[in-house]
Protein backbone atom coordinates (compact mmCIF):
# COMPACT_ATOMS: atom_id res chain seq x y z
CA UNK A 1 0.00 0.00 0.00
CA UNK A 2 1.40 3.35 -1.01
CA UNK A 3 1.71 6.03 1.63
CA UNK A 4 -1.08 8.59 1.68
CA UNK A 5 -0.19 11.60 -0.45
CA UNK A 6 0.33 14.76 1.56
CA UNK A 7 -3.16 16.13 1.06
CA UNK A 8 -4.21 19.55 2.23
CA UNK A 9 -7.24 18.01 3.90
CA UNK A 10 -5.10 16.67 6.75
CA UNK A 11 -4.60 20.19 8.02
CA UNK A 12 -8.32 20.84 8.17
CA UNK A 13 -9.06 17.54 9.90
CA UNK A 14 -10.41 17.18 13.40
CA UNK A 15 -7.83 17.80 16.08
CA UNK A 16 -8.25 14.35 17.59
CA UNK A 17 -5.64 12.71 15.40
CA UNK A 18 -2.97 14.97 16.90
CA UNK A 19 -0.70 12.75 18.94
CA UNK A 20 1.76 15.37 20.21
CA UNK A 21 1.48 19.11 20.42
CA UNK A 22 3.79 21.56 22.14
CA UNK A 23 2.98 25.23 22.61
CA UNK A 24 5.57 27.84 23.52
CA UNK A 25 7.99 25.16 24.72
CA UNK A 26 11.04 26.93 26.14
CA UNK A 27 14.20 25.83 27.94
CA UNK A 28 16.83 28.14 29.37
CA UNK A 29 20.00 26.84 31.00
CA UNK A 30 20.92 29.85 33.06
CA UNK A 31 21.67 32.43 30.38
CA UNK A 32 21.68 29.93 27.50
CA UNK A 33 18.40 30.06 25.59
CA UNK A 34 18.64 26.54 24.21
CA UNK A 35 14.98 26.40 23.13
CA UNK A 36 12.52 29.24 22.66
CA UNK A 37 8.77 29.10 21.98
CA UNK A 38 8.64 25.84 20.06
CA UNK A 39 5.16 25.12 18.63
CA UNK A 40 5.23 21.62 17.24
CA UNK A 41 2.47 19.27 16.10
CA UNK A 42 2.61 15.59 15.22
CA UNK A 43 -0.33 13.63 13.85
CA UNK A 44 -1.08 9.93 14.08
CA UNK A 45 1.09 7.86 11.77
CA UNK A 46 3.21 10.81 10.75
CA UNK A 47 7.00 10.63 10.42
CA UNK A 48 8.50 14.06 11.02
CA UNK A 49 12.15 15.01 10.72
CA UNK A 50 13.79 17.66 12.86
CA UNK A 51 16.81 19.23 11.20
CA UNK A 52 19.19 22.00 12.16
CA UNK A 53 22.82 22.76 12.82
CA UNK A 54 24.65 21.44 15.86
CA UNK A 55 23.54 23.42 18.88
CA UNK A 56 20.24 24.41 17.27
CA UNK A 57 18.28 22.97 20.19
CA UNK A 58 17.08 19.68 18.72
CA UNK A 59 18.24 17.45 21.56
CA UNK A 60 17.04 20.01 24.07
CA UNK A 61 13.58 19.82 22.51
CA UNK A 62 13.66 16.04 22.82
CA UNK A 63 14.71 16.20 26.48
CA UNK A 64 11.72 18.41 27.29
CA UNK A 65 9.11 16.10 25.75
CA UNK A 66 10.65 12.93 27.22
CA UNK A 67 10.74 13.98 30.86
CA UNK A 68 14.53 14.07 31.08
CA UNK A 69 14.29 17.77 31.90
CA UNK A 70 11.44 20.01 33.00
CA UNK A 71 10.80 22.88 30.56
CA UNK A 72 11.26 26.48 31.65
CA UNK A 73 7.78 27.17 30.26
CA UNK A 74 5.33 25.98 27.64
CA UNK A 75 2.80 23.16 27.42
CA UNK A 76 2.99 19.61 26.14
CA UNK A 77 -0.16 17.82 25.02
CA UNK A 78 0.38 14.14 24.32
CA UNK A 79 -2.27 11.60 23.40
CA UNK A 80 -5.10 13.99 24.19
CA UNK A 81 -3.94 15.17 27.61
CA UNK A 82 -1.72 17.93 28.90
CA UNK A 83 1.38 16.34 30.42
CA UNK A 84 3.88 17.37 33.03
CA UNK A 85 6.47 14.61 32.89
CA UNK A 86 8.55 14.62 36.07
CA UNK A 87 11.01 11.99 34.86
CA UNK A 88 11.72 9.74 31.86
CA UNK A 89 9.63 6.96 33.37
CA UNK A 90 6.50 9.15 33.22
CA UNK A 91 7.04 9.77 29.51
CA UNK A 92 7.69 6.10 28.87
CA UNK A 93 4.60 5.06 30.80
CA UNK A 94 2.61 7.52 28.69
CA UNK A 95 3.92 5.76 25.56
CA UNK A 96 6.92 7.78 24.37
CA UNK A 97 9.95 5.63 23.55
CA UNK A 98 13.20 7.44 22.87
CA UNK A 99 16.57 6.60 21.38
CA UNK A 100 18.67 9.34 22.96
CA UNK A 101 21.67 10.78 21.16
CA UNK A 102 23.80 9.49 24.03
CA UNK A 103 22.03 6.09 23.70
CA UNK A 104 21.62 5.80 27.49
CA UNK A 105 23.10 2.31 27.68
CA UNK A 106 24.96 0.73 30.59
CA UNK A 107 28.23 -0.64 29.22
CA UNK A 108 28.71 -3.31 31.86
CA UNK A 109 25.33 -4.95 31.31
CA UNK A 110 24.33 -7.34 28.55
CA UNK A 111 21.71 -6.82 25.86
CA UNK A 112 18.58 -8.05 27.70
CA UNK A 113 19.62 -6.10 30.82
CA UNK A 114 19.89 -2.93 28.78
CA UNK A 115 16.61 -3.49 26.96
CA UNK A 116 14.76 -3.89 30.23
CA UNK A 117 16.73 -1.38 32.30
CA UNK A 118 14.30 0.37 34.61
CA UNK A 119 11.38 -1.93 33.71
CA UNK A 120 12.67 -5.40 34.44
CA UNK A 121 10.37 -8.41 34.25
CA UNK A 122 10.15 -9.96 37.72
CA UNK A 123 9.09 -13.38 38.96
CA UNK A 124 8.29 -12.38 42.52
CA UNK A 125 7.57 -8.84 43.53
CA UNK A 126 9.57 -8.05 46.65
CA UNK A 127 9.93 -4.30 46.16
CA UNK A 128 13.52 -3.39 45.36
CA UNK A 129 14.52 -7.01 45.94
CA UNK A 130 12.13 -8.42 43.34
CA UNK A 131 13.48 -11.54 41.65
CA UNK A 132 14.41 -11.06 37.99
CA UNK A 133 12.91 -13.30 35.33
CA UNK A 134 15.99 -13.64 33.11
CA UNK A 135 14.36 -16.20 30.83
CA UNK A 136 11.36 -14.02 29.98
CA UNK A 137 13.58 -10.99 29.37
CA UNK A 138 15.88 -13.01 27.14
CA UNK A 139 13.01 -14.34 25.06
CA UNK A 140 11.48 -10.87 24.72
CA UNK A 141 14.88 -9.56 23.71
CA UNK A 142 15.24 -12.10 20.93
CA UNK A 143 11.71 -11.32 19.76
CA UNK A 144 12.50 -7.59 19.82
CA UNK A 145 15.71 -8.09 17.88
CA UNK A 146 13.89 -10.19 15.32
CA UNK A 147 11.13 -7.61 14.96
CA UNK A 148 13.68 -4.94 14.16
CA UNK A 149 15.95 -7.20 12.13
CA UNK A 150 18.86 -6.27 14.36
CA UNK A 151 21.74 -8.73 14.39
CA UNK A 152 23.97 -9.06 17.40
CA UNK A 153 26.35 -11.99 17.72
CA UNK A 154 26.13 -12.57 21.44
CA UNK A 155 23.34 -11.05 23.49
CA UNK A 156 24.80 -12.33 26.75
CA UNK A 157 28.03 -10.38 26.44
CA UNK A 158 28.35 -6.91 27.95
CA UNK A 159 27.84 -4.22 25.37
CA UNK A 160 31.16 -2.52 26.24
CA UNK A 161 33.00 -4.04 23.32
CA UNK A 162 30.26 -3.73 20.73
CA UNK A 163 30.62 -1.59 17.63
CA UNK A 164 28.84 1.75 17.36
CA UNK A 165 26.29 0.21 15.03
CA UNK A 166 25.54 -2.67 17.34
CA UNK A 167 25.11 -0.33 20.29
CA UNK A 168 22.78 1.84 18.23
CA UNK A 169 20.80 -1.23 17.29
CA UNK A 170 20.50 -2.24 20.93
CA UNK A 171 19.16 1.22 21.76
CA UNK A 172 16.66 1.03 18.88
CA UNK A 173 15.62 -2.51 19.74
CA UNK A 174 14.90 -1.23 23.24
CA UNK A 175 12.27 1.16 21.90
CA UNK A 176 10.88 -1.44 19.50
CA UNK A 177 10.44 -4.12 22.14
CA UNK A 178 7.77 -2.09 23.88
CA UNK A 179 4.54 -0.93 22.34
CA UNK A 180 4.72 2.80 22.07
CA UNK A 181 2.48 5.59 20.83
CA UNK A 182 5.42 7.70 19.72
CA UNK A 183 9.03 6.87 18.91
CA UNK A 184 11.76 9.51 18.97
CA UNK A 185 15.23 8.94 17.52
CA UNK A 186 17.95 11.54 18.08
CA UNK A 187 20.60 11.22 15.35
CA UNK A 188 20.37 7.43 15.22
CA UNK A 189 22.72 7.02 12.25
CA UNK A 190 25.25 9.77 12.91
CA UNK A 191 28.00 7.31 13.87
CA UNK A 192 27.08 4.43 11.58
CA UNK A 193 28.48 2.89 8.44
CA UNK A 194 26.52 2.47 5.22
CA UNK A 195 25.16 -0.99 5.95
CA UNK A 196 24.28 -0.20 9.56
CA UNK A 197 22.53 2.97 8.44
CA UNK A 198 20.47 0.94 5.96
CA UNK A 199 19.43 -1.34 8.79
CA UNK A 200 18.26 1.53 10.98
CA UNK A 201 16.35 2.96 8.03
CA UNK A 202 14.70 -0.39 7.49
CA UNK A 203 13.52 -0.31 11.11
CA UNK A 204 12.08 3.16 10.56
CA UNK A 205 10.17 1.90 7.50
CA UNK A 206 8.76 -0.94 9.60
CA UNK A 207 7.39 1.65 12.00
CA UNK A 208 5.84 3.57 9.10
CA UNK A 209 4.11 0.45 7.81
CA UNK A 210 2.82 -0.27 11.31
CA UNK A 211 1.40 3.26 11.39
CA UNK A 212 3.50 4.27 14.40
CA UNK A 213 4.43 7.96 14.51
CA UNK A 214 8.08 9.00 14.66
CA UNK A 215 10.20 12.05 15.29
CA UNK A 216 13.57 11.61 13.59
CA UNK A 217 16.45 13.97 14.23
CA UNK A 218 19.01 13.70 11.48
CA UNK A 219 21.59 15.62 9.48
CA UNK A 220 21.29 13.21 6.58
CA UNK A 221 19.24 14.95 3.90
CA UNK A 222 18.77 11.87 1.71
CA UNK A 223 17.59 9.88 4.69
CA UNK A 224 15.12 12.54 5.75
CA UNK A 225 13.73 12.85 2.21
CA UNK A 226 13.41 9.05 2.00
CA UNK A 227 11.78 8.44 5.34
CA UNK A 228 9.80 11.45 6.47
CA UNK A 229 6.57 13.23 5.55
CA UNK A 230 7.51 16.61 6.94
CA UNK A 231 10.62 18.52 8.02
CA UNK A 232 10.78 20.98 10.90
CA UNK A 233 13.90 23.14 10.91
CA UNK A 234 15.42 24.48 14.14
CA UNK A 235 17.85 27.39 14.23
CA UNK A 236 19.40 28.94 17.33
CA UNK A 237 16.80 27.45 19.62
CA UNK A 238 13.81 28.44 17.49
CA UNK A 239 11.74 26.73 14.84
CA UNK A 240 12.39 28.61 11.60
CA UNK A 241 10.48 26.50 9.07
CA UNK A 242 7.91 23.73 8.74
CA UNK A 243 8.08 22.08 5.37
CA UNK A 244 6.19 19.33 3.57
CA UNK A 245 8.42 16.96 1.72
CA UNK A 246 6.40 17.46 -1.45
CA UNK A 247 6.87 21.23 -1.38
CA UNK A 248 10.61 21.36 -0.79
CA UNK A 249 14.00 20.09 -1.90
CA UNK A 250 17.59 19.81 -0.66
CA UNK A 251 18.65 23.37 -1.42
CA UNK A 252 15.56 24.81 0.12
CA UNK A 253 16.06 22.91 3.38
CA UNK A 254 19.76 23.83 3.49
CA UNK A 255 18.83 27.48 3.07
CA UNK A 256 16.56 27.29 6.10
CA UNK A 257 19.17 25.42 8.17
CA UNK A 258 21.94 27.90 7.40
CA UNK A 259 19.72 30.92 7.92
CA UNK A 260 19.66 32.10 4.33
CA UNK A 261 15.87 31.78 4.49
CA UNK A 262 13.25 31.95 7.21
CA UNK A 263 9.53 31.35 6.80
CA UNK A 264 7.65 34.60 7.20
CA UNK A 265 5.63 33.48 10.23
CA UNK A 266 8.83 32.62 12.17
CA UNK A 267 10.66 35.89 11.53
CA UNK A 268 11.86 37.39 14.79
CA UNK A 269 13.91 40.45 15.58
CA UNK A 270 17.21 38.62 15.37
CA UNK A 271 19.84 40.17 17.58
CA UNK A 272 22.77 38.10 16.38
Amino acid sequence: MAAEPDGGEVMGDAMDDVILETRGLTKHYGGVHALTDADFTLRAGEHVAIMGDNGAGKSTFVRQITGVEVPTRGTIVFDGRERHFENPMDARDAGIETVFQTLALADDLDVPDNLFLGREIVKFNLGPFSILDYKAMQEATIAGLEKTGVKIPNIRGTIRNMSGGQRQCVAIARTATFHSKLTIMDEPTAALGVQETAQVEAIVRTLKEAGEPLILISHNMRQVMDLCDRIVVFRRGRICAKLRKADTDHQDVVAYITGAKTQAEYEVADAV
Binding site: F100, T102, A106, L109, S130
Partner: protein, 361 residues
Protein backbone atom coordinates in the same frame (compact mmCIF):
# COMPACT_ATOMS: atom_id res chain seq x y z
CA UNK B 1 15.96 -27.61 30.17
CA UNK B 2 14.64 -30.70 28.46
CA UNK B 3 16.36 -30.06 25.16
CA UNK B 4 20.03 -29.77 25.84
CA UNK B 5 20.81 -28.53 22.36
CA UNK B 6 22.59 -25.23 22.08
CA UNK B 7 19.93 -22.57 21.82
CA UNK B 8 21.15 -20.76 18.77
CA UNK B 9 19.21 -19.00 16.06
CA UNK B 10 20.14 -17.86 12.63
CA UNK B 11 18.92 -14.40 12.05
CA UNK B 12 19.21 -11.15 10.12
CA UNK B 13 20.66 -10.40 6.73
CA UNK B 14 24.13 -11.38 7.84
CA UNK B 15 22.82 -14.62 9.31
CA UNK B 16 24.74 -14.17 12.53
CA UNK B 17 24.08 -16.49 15.43
CA UNK B 18 22.40 -15.68 18.67
CA UNK B 19 24.39 -17.62 21.16
CA UNK B 20 22.34 -17.35 24.30
CA UNK B 21 24.51 -19.75 26.27
CA UNK B 22 27.96 -18.42 25.63
CA UNK B 23 29.52 -16.54 28.49
CA UNK B 24 32.76 -14.62 28.56
CA UNK B 25 35.67 -15.90 30.65
CA UNK B 26 34.73 -14.71 34.14
CA UNK B 27 37.04 -12.27 35.84
CA UNK B 28 36.59 -14.26 39.07
CA UNK B 29 38.54 -17.10 37.43
CA UNK B 30 41.54 -14.78 37.05
CA UNK B 31 41.30 -13.81 40.70
CA UNK B 32 41.16 -17.48 41.67
CA UNK B 33 44.26 -18.18 39.58
CA UNK B 34 45.99 -15.29 41.36
CA UNK B 35 45.08 -16.85 44.71
CA UNK B 36 46.53 -20.19 43.66
CA UNK B 37 49.71 -18.53 42.37
CA UNK B 38 50.20 -16.61 45.61
CA UNK B 39 49.74 -19.79 47.65
CA UNK B 40 52.26 -21.49 45.36
CA UNK B 41 54.79 -18.69 45.96
CA UNK B 42 54.48 -19.10 49.74
CA UNK B 43 54.73 -22.89 49.37
CA UNK B 44 57.94 -22.39 47.40
CA UNK B 45 59.38 -19.93 49.91
CA UNK B 46 58.32 -22.27 52.73
CA UNK B 47 60.13 -25.22 51.17
CA UNK B 48 63.18 -23.08 50.51
CA UNK B 49 63.49 -21.01 53.69
CA UNK B 50 61.43 -22.73 56.39
CA UNK B 51 61.66 -26.35 55.36
CA UNK B 52 57.91 -26.77 55.82
CA UNK B 53 54.70 -26.44 53.84
CA UNK B 54 52.50 -23.32 54.03
CA UNK B 55 49.02 -24.76 53.69
CA UNK B 56 49.64 -28.52 53.61
CA UNK B 57 50.16 -30.81 56.57
CA UNK B 58 53.89 -31.47 56.03
CA UNK B 59 54.54 -32.61 59.61
CA UNK B 60 51.50 -34.87 59.87
CA UNK B 61 49.95 -32.94 62.75
CA UNK B 62 46.39 -33.12 61.37
CA UNK B 63 44.12 -35.82 60.03
CA UNK B 64 43.73 -34.11 56.69
CA UNK B 65 46.28 -33.21 54.04
CA UNK B 66 45.96 -29.52 54.93
CA UNK B 67 47.45 -27.55 57.77
CA UNK B 68 44.01 -27.01 59.28
CA UNK B 69 45.22 -24.65 61.97
CA UNK B 70 46.58 -22.20 59.43
CA UNK B 71 43.56 -22.44 57.15
CA UNK B 72 41.32 -21.73 60.12
CA UNK B 73 43.39 -18.71 61.13
CA UNK B 74 43.30 -17.34 57.60
CA UNK B 75 39.53 -17.52 57.20
CA UNK B 76 38.86 -16.32 60.75
CA UNK B 77 41.16 -13.39 60.13
CA UNK B 78 39.36 -12.26 57.00
CA UNK B 79 35.77 -13.11 58.00
CA UNK B 80 34.99 -10.05 60.13
CA UNK B 81 36.52 -7.52 57.73
CA UNK B 82 35.09 -9.63 54.89
CA UNK B 83 31.57 -8.81 56.11
CA UNK B 84 32.42 -5.11 55.66
CA UNK B 85 33.91 -5.92 52.25
CA UNK B 86 30.50 -7.26 51.14
CA UNK B 87 29.09 -3.77 51.73
CA UNK B 88 32.13 -2.08 50.22
CA UNK B 89 31.63 -4.21 47.10
CA UNK B 90 28.11 -2.89 46.57
CA UNK B 91 29.08 0.72 47.29
CA UNK B 92 32.05 0.57 44.90
CA UNK B 93 29.96 -1.06 42.16
CA UNK B 94 27.70 2.02 42.24
CA UNK B 95 30.83 4.09 41.68
CA UNK B 96 31.03 5.28 45.29
CA UNK B 97 33.29 4.64 48.27
CA UNK B 98 32.67 4.19 52.00
CA UNK B 99 35.52 5.28 54.27
CA UNK B 100 33.41 5.23 57.43
CA UNK B 101 32.95 1.47 57.87
CA UNK B 102 35.76 0.96 60.41
CA UNK B 103 34.60 3.81 62.66
CA UNK B 104 30.99 2.68 62.36
CA UNK B 105 32.17 -0.75 63.56
CA UNK B 106 33.68 0.95 66.60
CA UNK B 107 30.54 2.92 67.49
CA UNK B 108 28.12 0.06 66.73
CA UNK B 109 30.21 -2.34 68.82
CA UNK B 110 30.14 0.04 71.80
CA UNK B 111 26.39 0.52 71.58
CA UNK B 112 25.59 -3.16 70.96
CA UNK B 113 27.87 -4.29 73.77
CA UNK B 114 26.35 -1.89 76.28
CA UNK B 115 22.98 -3.60 75.72
CA UNK B 116 24.56 -7.07 75.92
CA UNK B 117 26.03 -6.91 79.39
CA UNK B 118 25.47 -9.60 81.95
CA UNK B 119 24.43 -8.79 85.52
CA UNK B 120 26.77 -11.08 87.41
CA UNK B 121 30.47 -11.65 86.75
CA UNK B 122 32.16 -14.40 88.81
CA UNK B 123 29.49 -14.08 91.49
CA UNK B 124 29.90 -10.29 91.79
CA UNK B 125 27.76 -7.59 90.18
CA UNK B 126 29.10 -6.49 86.76
CA UNK B 127 31.67 -3.79 87.62
CA UNK B 128 31.45 -2.03 84.29
CA UNK B 129 27.70 -1.83 83.70
CA UNK B 130 26.93 1.06 81.36
CA UNK B 131 23.25 1.39 82.30
CA UNK B 132 21.25 0.56 85.44
CA UNK B 133 20.34 -2.97 86.54
CA UNK B 134 17.18 -2.98 84.41
CA UNK B 135 19.40 -2.93 81.32
CA UNK B 136 21.41 -6.03 82.15
CA UNK B 137 20.82 -9.59 80.92
CA UNK B 138 18.59 -8.46 78.05
CA UNK B 139 17.63 -11.00 75.39
CA UNK B 140 20.26 -11.22 72.66
CA UNK B 141 17.97 -9.64 70.06
CA UNK B 142 18.24 -6.26 71.82
CA UNK B 143 22.01 -5.72 71.35
CA UNK B 144 21.79 -7.22 67.86
CA UNK B 145 19.10 -4.73 66.84
CA UNK B 146 21.04 -1.92 68.52
CA UNK B 147 24.23 -2.73 66.60
CA UNK B 148 22.38 -3.19 63.31
CA UNK B 149 20.42 0.00 63.94
CA UNK B 150 23.51 2.12 64.61
CA UNK B 151 25.25 0.76 61.51
CA UNK B 152 22.22 1.23 59.29
CA UNK B 153 21.58 4.74 60.60
CA UNK B 154 25.17 5.74 59.84
CA UNK B 155 24.72 4.26 56.36
CA UNK B 156 21.46 6.16 55.82
CA UNK B 157 23.17 9.43 56.77
CA UNK B 158 26.04 8.64 54.37
CA UNK B 159 23.57 7.74 51.63
CA UNK B 160 21.37 10.80 52.16
CA UNK B 161 24.39 13.13 52.02
CA UNK B 162 25.65 11.49 48.85
CA UNK B 163 22.33 11.04 47.07
CA UNK B 164 20.58 14.30 47.88
CA UNK B 165 23.44 16.77 48.11
CA UNK B 166 26.40 17.12 45.81
CA UNK B 167 28.90 16.04 48.45
CA UNK B 168 31.16 13.39 46.88
CA UNK B 169 31.12 9.96 48.61
CA UNK B 170 34.77 10.36 49.58
CA UNK B 171 34.08 13.50 51.62
CA UNK B 172 30.72 12.46 53.07
CA UNK B 173 32.02 9.15 54.40
CA UNK B 174 35.28 10.75 55.57
CA UNK B 175 33.13 13.02 57.73
CA UNK B 176 31.24 9.99 59.03
CA UNK B 177 34.56 8.24 59.69
CA UNK B 178 35.63 11.01 62.07
CA UNK B 179 32.17 11.56 63.59
CA UNK B 180 31.46 7.87 64.29
CA UNK B 181 34.82 7.44 65.99
CA UNK B 182 33.99 10.46 68.12
CA UNK B 183 30.57 8.98 68.93
CA UNK B 184 32.23 5.71 69.98
CA UNK B 185 34.32 7.63 72.51
CA UNK B 186 31.41 9.79 73.66
CA UNK B 187 29.17 6.76 74.33
CA UNK B 188 31.04 5.68 77.49
CA UNK B 189 33.47 8.60 77.81
CA UNK B 190 36.16 6.37 76.39
CA UNK B 191 35.65 3.40 78.74
CA UNK B 192 35.66 -0.09 77.22
CA UNK B 193 32.47 -2.15 77.62
CA UNK B 194 32.87 -5.77 78.70
CA UNK B 195 31.19 -8.90 80.10
CA UNK B 196 28.49 -9.81 77.58
CA UNK B 197 25.80 -12.41 78.20
CA UNK B 198 26.58 -15.95 77.07
CA UNK B 199 23.94 -15.63 74.35
CA UNK B 200 25.66 -12.59 72.87
CA UNK B 201 29.14 -14.04 73.19
CA UNK B 202 27.99 -17.12 71.31
CA UNK B 203 27.48 -14.97 68.19
CA UNK B 204 31.23 -14.61 67.79
CA UNK B 205 32.77 -17.74 69.27
CA UNK B 206 34.59 -20.48 67.38
CA UNK B 207 33.91 -20.45 63.68
CA UNK B 208 30.83 -18.22 64.02
CA UNK B 209 32.49 -15.24 62.26
CA UNK B 210 33.11 -17.46 59.24
CA UNK B 211 29.51 -18.69 59.26
CA UNK B 212 28.27 -15.08 59.30
CA UNK B 213 30.63 -14.13 56.51
CA UNK B 214 29.80 -17.08 54.28
CA UNK B 215 26.04 -16.81 54.93
CA UNK B 216 25.96 -13.10 54.16
CA UNK B 217 28.21 -13.58 51.13
CA UNK B 218 25.78 -16.13 49.68
CA UNK B 219 22.80 -13.89 50.46
CA UNK B 220 24.31 -10.82 48.78
CA UNK B 221 25.65 -12.86 45.88
CA UNK B 222 22.08 -13.96 45.16
CA UNK B 223 20.75 -10.43 45.67
CA UNK B 224 23.27 -8.83 43.32
CA UNK B 225 22.77 -11.52 40.69
CA UNK B 226 19.04 -12.10 40.78
CA UNK B 227 17.22 -9.01 41.97
CA UNK B 228 16.26 -5.65 40.54
CA UNK B 229 18.37 -4.10 43.32
CA UNK B 230 21.46 -5.84 41.98
CA UNK B 231 20.76 -4.88 38.38
CA UNK B 232 20.28 -1.23 39.27
CA UNK B 233 23.43 -1.22 41.41
CA UNK B 234 25.49 -2.25 38.38
CA UNK B 235 23.58 0.09 36.05
CA UNK B 236 24.21 3.15 38.22
CA UNK B 237 27.94 2.43 38.47
CA UNK B 238 28.14 1.68 34.79
CA UNK B 239 26.38 4.80 33.51
CA UNK B 240 24.53 6.94 36.01
CA UNK B 241 22.93 9.17 33.35
CA UNK B 242 21.68 6.15 31.43
CA UNK B 243 20.27 4.72 34.64
CA UNK B 244 18.44 7.97 35.31
CA UNK B 245 17.14 8.22 31.74
CA UNK B 246 15.94 4.62 32.03
CA UNK B 247 13.76 5.63 34.95
CA UNK B 248 15.84 4.22 37.80
CA UNK B 249 15.42 6.30 40.95
CA UNK B 250 19.15 6.80 41.37
CA UNK B 251 19.13 8.81 44.61
CA UNK B 252 16.80 6.42 46.40
CA UNK B 253 18.84 3.46 45.23
CA UNK B 254 22.12 4.94 46.47
CA UNK B 255 20.55 5.60 49.85
CA UNK B 256 19.60 1.93 50.04
CA UNK B 257 23.09 0.76 49.04
CA UNK B 258 24.83 2.89 51.68
CA UNK B 259 22.26 1.82 54.28
CA UNK B 260 23.00 -1.84 53.52
CA UNK B 261 26.75 -1.18 53.73
CA UNK B 262 26.20 0.48 57.11
CA UNK B 263 24.05 -2.43 58.27
CA UNK B 264 26.84 -4.85 57.32
CA UNK B 265 29.32 -2.76 59.33
CA UNK B 266 26.85 -3.19 62.21
CA UNK B 267 26.87 -6.98 61.78
CA UNK B 268 30.65 -6.93 61.69
CA UNK B 269 30.68 -4.93 64.95
CA UNK B 270 28.39 -7.45 66.65
CA UNK B 271 30.48 -10.44 65.58
CA UNK B 272 33.76 -8.72 66.48
CA UNK B 273 32.65 -7.60 69.96
CA UNK B 274 31.07 -11.02 70.66
CA UNK B 275 34.31 -12.71 69.61
CA UNK B 276 36.50 -10.44 71.76
CA UNK B 277 33.98 -10.33 74.68
CA UNK B 278 34.55 -6.59 74.82
CA UNK B 279 34.09 -3.38 72.86
CA UNK B 280 36.63 -0.57 72.76
CA UNK B 281 36.49 2.85 71.17
CA UNK B 282 39.36 2.02 68.85
CA UNK B 283 37.74 -1.10 67.42
CA UNK B 284 37.65 -1.52 63.66
CA UNK B 285 40.39 1.04 63.06
CA UNK B 286 41.23 1.16 59.33
CA UNK B 287 39.01 -1.83 58.58
CA UNK B 288 37.46 0.13 55.71
CA UNK B 289 40.78 0.19 53.87
CA UNK B 290 41.30 -3.55 54.25
CA UNK B 291 37.71 -4.11 53.07
CA UNK B 292 38.18 -1.87 50.04
CA UNK B 293 41.44 -3.67 49.25
CA UNK B 294 39.70 -7.07 49.43
CA UNK B 295 37.02 -5.89 47.02
CA UNK B 296 39.46 -4.30 44.59
CA UNK B 297 41.81 -7.31 44.66
CA UNK B 298 38.71 -9.39 43.90
CA UNK B 299 38.04 -7.44 40.72
CA UNK B 300 35.61 -4.75 41.87
CA UNK B 301 36.43 -1.69 39.79
CA UNK B 302 36.79 1.64 41.57
CA UNK B 303 35.30 3.20 38.43
CA UNK B 304 32.05 1.38 39.17
CA UNK B 305 29.88 -1.09 37.28
CA UNK B 306 32.13 -4.13 37.63
CA UNK B 307 32.84 -6.74 40.26
CA UNK B 308 31.03 -9.41 42.22
CA UNK B 309 30.62 -10.90 45.66
CA UNK B 310 32.38 -14.08 44.53
CA UNK B 311 35.36 -11.98 43.46
CA UNK B 312 35.42 -10.14 46.77
CA UNK B 313 35.35 -13.40 48.74
CA UNK B 314 38.35 -14.67 46.77
CA UNK B 315 39.96 -11.23 47.19
CA UNK B 316 39.48 -11.55 50.95
CA UNK B 317 41.19 -14.94 50.87
CA UNK B 318 44.11 -13.50 48.91
CA UNK B 319 44.38 -10.76 51.51
CA UNK B 320 44.34 -13.32 54.35
CA UNK B 321 46.84 -15.59 52.61
CA UNK B 322 49.33 -12.77 52.10
CA UNK B 323 49.12 -11.57 55.73
CA UNK B 324 49.30 -15.12 57.04
CA UNK B 325 52.11 -15.92 54.62
CA UNK B 326 54.27 -13.19 56.09
CA UNK B 327 53.63 -14.52 59.58
CA UNK B 328 54.55 -17.97 58.27
CA UNK B 329 57.86 -16.59 57.02
CA UNK B 330 58.35 -15.14 60.53
CA UNK B 331 58.44 -11.55 59.37
CA UNK B 332 57.89 -8.88 62.01
CA UNK B 333 54.42 -7.46 62.66
CA UNK B 334 55.80 -4.10 61.53
CA UNK B 335 56.48 -5.56 58.12
CA UNK B 336 52.93 -6.88 58.00
CA UNK B 337 51.50 -3.39 58.37
CA UNK B 338 53.77 -2.11 55.65
CA UNK B 339 52.89 -5.03 53.42
CA UNK B 340 49.21 -4.23 53.94
CA UNK B 341 49.89 -0.73 52.71
CA UNK B 342 51.61 -2.14 49.65
CA UNK B 343 48.67 -4.50 48.99
CA UNK B 344 46.16 -1.63 49.11
CA UNK B 345 48.15 0.50 46.68
CA UNK B 346 48.91 -2.49 44.46
CA UNK B 347 45.20 -3.35 44.28
CA UNK B 348 44.37 0.16 43.08
CA UNK B 349 47.19 0.10 40.54
CA UNK B 350 45.90 -3.26 39.30
CA UNK B 351 42.41 -1.78 38.96
CA UNK B 352 43.75 1.18 36.95
CA UNK B 353 45.57 -1.22 34.69
CA UNK B 354 42.43 -3.34 34.18
CA UNK B 355 40.43 -0.21 33.39
CA UNK B 356 42.89 1.04 30.81
CA UNK B 357 42.99 -2.41 29.25
CA UNK B 358 39.19 -2.67 28.82
CA UNK B 359 38.99 0.98 27.79
CA UNK B 360 41.51 0.44 25.00
CA UNK B 361 39.55 -2.38 23.40
Amino acid sequence: MADGTAQARVHGTGGLLYDTKRRAWPNEANVLIALILIVAVFEGLGALLMDQSFLFDSRDRFDSVFNEARLRIIILQVAIIGIIALGATQVIITGGIDLSAGSVVGFAAMVAMSFAQTGVVNGNPNPGAVFGPAWLDLPVIVPVLAGLGVGTLAGVINGALIAYTRIPPFIATLGMMVAARGAAQWWTRGQPVSFPTDGYAALGQGMMPVIWFVGLAILFHLILRHTVYGKHTYAIGSNEDAARMSGIKVARHKLLVYAIAGGLAGVSAIVLSAKNLTAQTGMGLMYELDAIAMAVIGGVSLAGGRGSIVGTVIGALIFGVIISGFTFLRLDAYYQEMVKGVIIVAAVVLDQWRQSRTGAK
